[in-house]
C-alpha cells in the first residue's frame, strides 16, 4: 500500500530526473561524455535536495508531515517531565473513567429507554386512592406504594383489564402481564429455576418486539385449548439452550409441565422494567403459576374482587396520556362490582410514562444514583482543576522555549499548533486509559450487584455517549490550558521572557499564579466534601452490616426447594417436607432444620395488619409461616412462653409466636393466651420471641410466626450448623439427593451472604463513595504538589539569593511549608460549609438518617486532607531548602 504522499515523493523524483536527463542530453550533443553531461546538468539545475525540500513544502500533504513532527516533539517533551505527564495522564484517565462508569450506571437506571420502537408511546396504567378500596379489591397480586399520602397500585381485575382494553382500542393497544415469578425448569438435562412472566397475546405485538429466532406470542396463543408454548429471552437462550437456533420447537419443562419453545427474544430486549429478571414468557393462562391447581391465580382469575393483572399500553401516534386516560376511566369504574364507600376509597386511574420501562426499581435507586452523579461531577471538576494546574505550571516553564521559537521566526499559528498537538496527545493517551478505568469500575459495580435468581439484573453497557460526554469536558480543559503558553507568548514580547532567567525574583508576580491557587482552593474544598461522603457512607454500611440482627448469623445456611413444581401433590408434599426435616436434622453437625414460606433476610415477605379481638388497634407486621424448629434454626430465643411443638406444627394447630414488638403493642401484661387474628383466622399466642431483624438489616418490623403448612408448593429450608455452614453443605446436598435426586436446590446462601444480598444498594453506594474519596484525596495531593513544586522551582534563584544573604534552611523550609499549608487550610475551611450543606441535602433525600450531622467524619476528612497536603508540600519544601546557593545563583 502506498500513501498519497509517498506517491508524490516518487513522482517528484521522476520529474526531476527527467529534467536532468533532458538537460544532459543537450550537453551530450555538445560533445560531453554522459557523466560529464549529467554533472553539468546538475550544476545548471541548482541544488537538487533544496528543490525537493521546497517542493515538499508546497505539497498538499505538508501538514501531515508537520503533525508527525509535532507529535514526535510532543512525545519528547512529555518524556522530559515524566512526573507531570504521569500525573496529568493519570488524572485524565481516572476522572474521565469514573465519570463514564457512573454515567453508564445512571443511564441504565435513569435514562435508558426500552429497546422497542417508539418507546415514548408506552404508558403504565396504575390507579391511586387515599385508602385501600376494600369494597372493590379484596385480594391482590402486584405492587402498591405510597406517594404523597396516596396509595399507588398497579393491579387490576380481569374484568377491569378487558373493559379498558376494549374501550381503549380506538386510541391504544392495552395489554396485560403478571409478575415474573420463579418456576423450576428442566431442559436437556439442565435443572434450575427461571423467572416466568405471563403476558396477554397482544403484549409483544403491542411492544412491537421482533423475534430473534422463531416467533413470539400472539393472540392465537390466548385461545383456550392451544398447546403450551413459551418464549425465552436471548440471555436465557444463550445460557441454558446453548444459543442453538434448533432449540426452537423443542420442549422445555416448567413446573413439571411440558412447553414448546416458540421463539427467542432479541438480545437488546432485556425486559419491561429496570432490572427485569424475566427469563421466560408464556401467556397468562398458560403461566405455570396460573396452571397450578392450588395456585392463587386459579381462584382469582374470574373473581372480580381479586385484582392481579398489570397493564401496559401503547398509545396510537398523536394520542396523549390525558386523552387515553379520559377514555379508559369510565370503563374502569364501570367494571367494579360495588361502589366504594367514600371518595377516599375510590380508585382513580393514573397513566405513567413508561418509555424507560416500569419504574419500581427506579424509585429506590433513582436518588442514590443522582447523588453519585453529583459526587462524580465533583471528581471530574477536581480532575479538570488538576489538569489545568499541571499544564499551567508546565506552560510557565515553557514560556522561555516559546519565546525562543518565536524569535527564531516561528509563526504564532505554528506555535499554537505545536502546543495544541501536545495537549491532544496527552488527552488521547488519558482518554484511552480512561476506557480501561471505566471498564474496571463497571466490573466492580457489577460484582457488587449480587447474582442470584431473585436479584435484579442491571445491564451496564459502557456507553459511547457517556465516554464522549466525560471525555469532552476534560479534553476541553486540557486543550484550553495546553494552549495557554502559546497564547501568552503570542501576546507577550519575546525579548523580556528570553532575558528573564528561570530564577529571577521579579518574575514571580502574584497575578500569574492566582488562577492556579484558585484551582487548588476549589479542589481542596470539593475534596473535603468527597472524603467526608466516603467516610460517612462506608461507616454507615459497616454499621448496618455489623448490626446485631438478634440471632447468631455465622452458622446457618438456606436454600429453596419447590417440590410442588416437581409434581408432588398434597400427601406426598407433606411426606417430602417431613422427610427433609428429619433427614437433615439427623446429619452430623446439623443442629436444627427450619422450614418457612419465605427465607429470612429477603427484604420482603407477607405483610399484614394483625389485630386482636376486642381491640381496634392494628399492628402492621410481617407474617412468617414457619415450622416448629424454625426459631431454633434462625437462632432466636424465646423470652416467654413455650415453643410450638412438632405435633402442633404438623397438625396445623392455630398457635402463634409473636415478637417483643407486638407483645408490647398488644398492651399491658403478658400476651400469652391472647388471640391474634391473621387474615381470617385467630391464633393463640403461646410464646414471645426476642426481637430480631428477620426481614432486612435496615428496618425491623414486628413479626408473627404462625405454623408452616405442609401442603405448600415451595419452601425455604434454613439449616443451623455446628460447623462453618458451607462445610456442612456437602452432606446436606447428599441427603437432599437421596430424598429426590432431581430436586434443584435454589439459591444456596449462608446467612451472611443472604444479609449482604439485601444491602446491594447500600454496598454499591458505599464502595463508589469510598473510591471517590480516595481518588479525591490523591488528586488533591497531586494538585498541591504540582503547584508548590513549580512555584519553588521558579524561585530557585530567589531562594539562592536569600540563602546567600544568610537565610537558614529552616527558614526556607518553613516559608514554603507555610505557603503551601495556608493554601490547603483555606481550601479546607471553604470545604466545611460545602460538606455540611451536602449532608443536609443527603438527609433530605433520605440517604442519611435524620438528625445526626456528620461532624466526626468531617473532622476525620479534614485530618486526612491536611495530612496529605502536608506530604504534598513537604517534598518541594525539602527540595527548596536543600538548594545550593552558589549553584542557584549561577543558573539564575
Amino acid at each position: 500500500m502506498r500513501w498519497p504522499w509517498q506517491k508524490e515523493e516518487s513522482d517528484l523524483e521522476r520529474e526531476i530526473r527527467y529534467h536532468l536527463e533532458t538537460l544532459a542530453d543537450g550537453f551530450e550533443k555538445q560533445g560531453m561524455s554522459r557523466a560529464e553531461a549529467l554533472k553539468q546538468a546538475r550544476k545548471e539545475f541548482g541544488g537538487v535536495e533544496g528543490v525537493r525540500e521546497q517542493c515538499r513544502d508546497e505539497s498538499r500533504w505538508s501538514w501531515l508531515v508537520h503533525v508527525g513532527q509535532d507529535l514526535r516533539f510532543g512525545w519528547r517533551m512529555m518524556l522530559k517531565t515524566p512526573s507531570v505527564t504521569l500525573a496529568a495522564v493519570g488524572t485524565l484517565a481516572l476522572g474521565i473513567g469514573a465519570t463514564t462508569a457512573i454515567l453508564s450506571l445512571a443511564d441504565a437506571v435513569l435514562w435508558r429507554t426500552l429497546a422497542v420502537p417508539a418507546p415514548e408511546q408506552l404508558s403504565e396504567i396504575l390507579w391511586t386512592a387515599k385508602e385501600r378500596p376494600r369494597e372493590v379489591v379484596r385480594s391482590s397480586s402486584g405492587s402498591a406504594f405510597p406517594e404523597n399520602g396516596l396509595m399507588v397500585a398497579d393491579f387490576f381485575s380481569a374484568d377491569g383489564y378487558r373493559a379498558m382494553r376494549d374501550a381503549g382500542a380506538p386510541k391504544a393497544i392495552v395489554a396485560a402481564h403478571i409478575g415474573g415469578r420463579q418456576a423450576s425448569f428442566s431442559y436437556a438435562g439442565t435443572v434450575s429455576v427461571a423467572h416466568v412472566r405471563g403476558v396477554t397475546g397482544n403484549f409483544f405485538p403491542m411492544l412491537q418486539v421482533r423475534p430473534f429466532v422463531g416467533r413470539l406470542l400472539g393472540d392465537r396463543d390466548d385461545e383456550p385449548g392451544s398447546g403450551l408454548v413459551a418464549v425465552v429471552t436471548h440471555r436465557f437462550w444463550g445460557k441454558f439452550l446453548n444459543a442453538d437456533p434448533a432449540a426452537v420447537g423443542t420442549p422445555i419443562t416448567l413446573n413439571n409441565l411440558s412447553y414448546t419453545i416458540a421463539g427467542v427474544l432479541p438480545p437488546d430486549f432485556v425486559g419491561i422494567a429496570l432490572g427485569d429478571g424475566a427469563d421466560v414468557y408464556t401467556t397468562i393462562q398458560q403461566n405455570p403459576e396460573f396452571l397450578s391447581p392450588e395456585g392463587w391465580y386459579r381462584q382469582a382469575q374470574n373473581e372480580p374482587l381479586s385484582w392481579w393483572m398489570q397493564v401496559l399500553a401503547r398509545r396510537n401516534p398523536g394520542v396523549s396520556e390525558q386523552e387515553l386516560a379520559a377514555v379508559l376511566a369510565p370503563s374502569f369504574s364501570a367494571s367494579w362490582i360495588a361502589s366504594p364507600k367514600s371518595e377516599a376509597r375510590t380508585p382513580h386511574l393514573r397513566l405513567n410514562e413508561a418509555s424507560r420501562g416500569l419504574g419500581r426499581l427506579r424509585r429506590s435507586w433513582g436518588d442514590p444514583v443522582w447523588m453519585l452523579l453529583g459526587l462524580v461531577a465533583m471528581v471530574l471538576l477536581i480532575s479538570c482543576a488538576n489538569i489545568a494546574n499541571l499544564l499551567l505550571a508546565r506552560a510557565v516553564e515553557r514560556e522561555k522555549e516559546a519565546a525562543l521559537r518565536v524569535s527564531l521566526g516561528c509563526g504564532a499559528g505554528r506555535l499554537m499548533r505545536q502546543f495544541f498537538t501536545e495537549s491532544l496527545l496527552l488527552a488521547a493517551i488519558g482518554g484511552l486509559l480512561s476506557v480501561a478505568v471505566a471498564l474496571g469500575l463497571g466490573q466492580l459495580m457489577e460484582s457488587l450487584l449480587p447474582h442470584g435468581s431473585d436479584s435484579m439484573r442491571l445491564s451496564l453497557v459502557l456507553d459511547v455517549r457517556s465516554l464522549l460526554g466525560a471525555g469532552g469536558i476534560t479534553l476541553c480543559t486540557a486543550l484550553l490550558f495546553g494552549l495557554y503558553p502559546a497564547w501568552r507568548t503570542a501576546r507577550v514580547n519575546a525579548a523580556p521572557a528570553l532575558k528573564e532567567g528561570s530564577g529571577s525574583a521579579g518574575s514571580m508576580s502574584k497575578s500569574r499564579w492566582a488562577p492556579a491557587k484558585l484551582l487548588v482552593l476549589v479542589q481542596v474544598s470539593l475534596g473535603v466534601l468527597l472524603v467526608t461522603a466516603a467516610i460517612v457512607f462506608t461507616t454507615r454500611l459497616n454499621d448496618i452490616v455489623s448490626r446485631d440482627p438478634g440471632f447468631e448469623r455465622r452458622h446457618s445456611l438456606m436454600f429453596d426447594v419447590r417440590p410442588g413444581e416437581m409434581g408432588y401433590k398434597a400427601e406426598r408434599l407433606k411426606q417430602f417436607y417431613v422427610e427433609v426435616e428429619t433427614r437433615l436434622a439427623s446429619l452430623a453437625g446439623v443442629q436444627a432444620v427450619g422450614l418457612s414460606w419465605t427465607r429470612p433476610m429477603l427484604g420482603a415477605g407477607f405483610w399484614d395488619d394483625v389485630e386482636t379481638p376486642g381491640n381496634t388497634k392494628r399492628v402492621p407486621s410481617a407474617i412468617h409461616h414457619a415450622n416448629a424448629a424454625f426459631l431454633d434454626a434462625l437462632g432466636v430465643p424465646l423470652v416467654a412462653g413455650r415453643p410450638v411443638t412438632l405435633q402442633e406444627s404438623r397438625a396445623l394447630v392455630n398457635v402463634a409466636i409473636v415478637d417483643e414488638t407486638i407483645a408490647q403493642s398488644l398492651g399491658n401484661g403478658s400476651p400469652l393466651g391472647m388471640r391474634v387474628r391473621v387474615g381470617d383466622i385467630d391464633h393463640e399466642v403461646v410464646g414471645v420471641a426476642r426481637k430480631a431483624r428477620y426481614a432486612e438489616m435496615v428496618q425491623s418490623p414486628a413479626v408473627v410466626y404462625i405454623p408452616f403448612r405442609y401442603d405448600r408448593q415451595a419452601a425455604s429450608v434454613l439449616v443451623r450448623t455446628a460447623m462453618p455452614p458451607m462445610a456442612a453443605f456437602g452432606a446436606i446436598r447428599q441427603a437432599m439427593k437421596e430424598i429426590d435426586k432431581d430436586m434443584p436446590l435454589v439459591d444456596v446462601f449462608t446467612m451472611e451472604q443472604q444479609i449482604s444480598r439485601t444491602l446491594q444498594r447500600e454496598r454499591l453506594f458505599a464502595w463508589l463513595c469510598g473510591s471517590f474519596g480516595v481518588l479525591a484525596l490523591v488528586l488533591c495531593a497531586v494538585g498541591i504538589y504540582g503547584l508548590m513544586s513549580h512555584t519553588t522551582a521558579r524561585r530557585t534563584g530567589e531562594i539562592g539569593i536569600r540563602m546567600a544573604l544568610g537565610a537558614s534552611r529552616r527558614v526556607v523550609l518553613d516559608q514554603v511549608l507555610r505557603e503551601g499549608l495556608a493554601l490547603a487550610v483555606a481550601g479546607l475551611v471553604l470545604g466545611v460549609p460545602l460538606a455540611l450543606y451536602a449532608a443536609k441535602i443527603a438527609t433530605a433525600q433520605r440517604l442519611l438518617p435524620e438528625g445526626a450531622m456528620p461532624y466526626w467524619p468531617l473532622g476525620v476528612a479534614l485530618g486526612l486532607l491536611s495530612l496529605s497536603a502536608l506530604f504534598a508540600v513537604l517534598a518541594p519544601a525539602l527540595r527548596a531548602s536543600s538548594v545550593d546557593p552558589m549553584q542557584a545563583l549561577r543558573q539564575g
Binding site: 513522482d11 517528484l12 521522476r14 520529474e15 526531476i16 527527467y18 529534467h19 536527463e21 533532458t22 538537460l23 542530453d25 545548471e44 539545475f45 541548482g46 541544488g47 537538487v48 533544496g50 528543490v51 521546497q54 517542493c55 513544502d57 508546497e58 505539497s59 498538499r60
Partner: protein, 108 residues
Amino acid sequence: MAKKSDLLQGTLDLLVLKTLAQEPLHGYAIAQRILISSRQVLEVQQGSLYPALHRLERKDLVSSEWREGDNGRMAKVYALTAAGKRQLAAELEEWSRYTSAIGWVLEG
C-alpha cells in the same frame, strides 16, 4: 523560505502561467520557452521552477499528467486550468498597471 523570494516568486508564477497559456508543457520545456521568449534575458534558475509548479498545482491553477516525452521517457506535463486562466488574466492586468506606474514615475 517563502517570504524571502516574494517578488521573484510572484513574477515567476506569472511567467509560468503565461507560458502554459499557449500549450501544455513539461518543466524542462517551460524553462526553455521562458529563456527563448525573453530573448535569453531571463534565465530562470531551473530548479526553482518546480516548487513554483507544485505551488500552482496545489492552488489548482495548473493540472498535470504523465505523458511520453520527445525522447521516449515519461514526462510530467502541466496545463493551465480554468482557474489558472482567470488568475493569468488578473495578474497580467496587475502587471501592466504596475509597470505603467513605474514607467510614469521614471518618465515624469
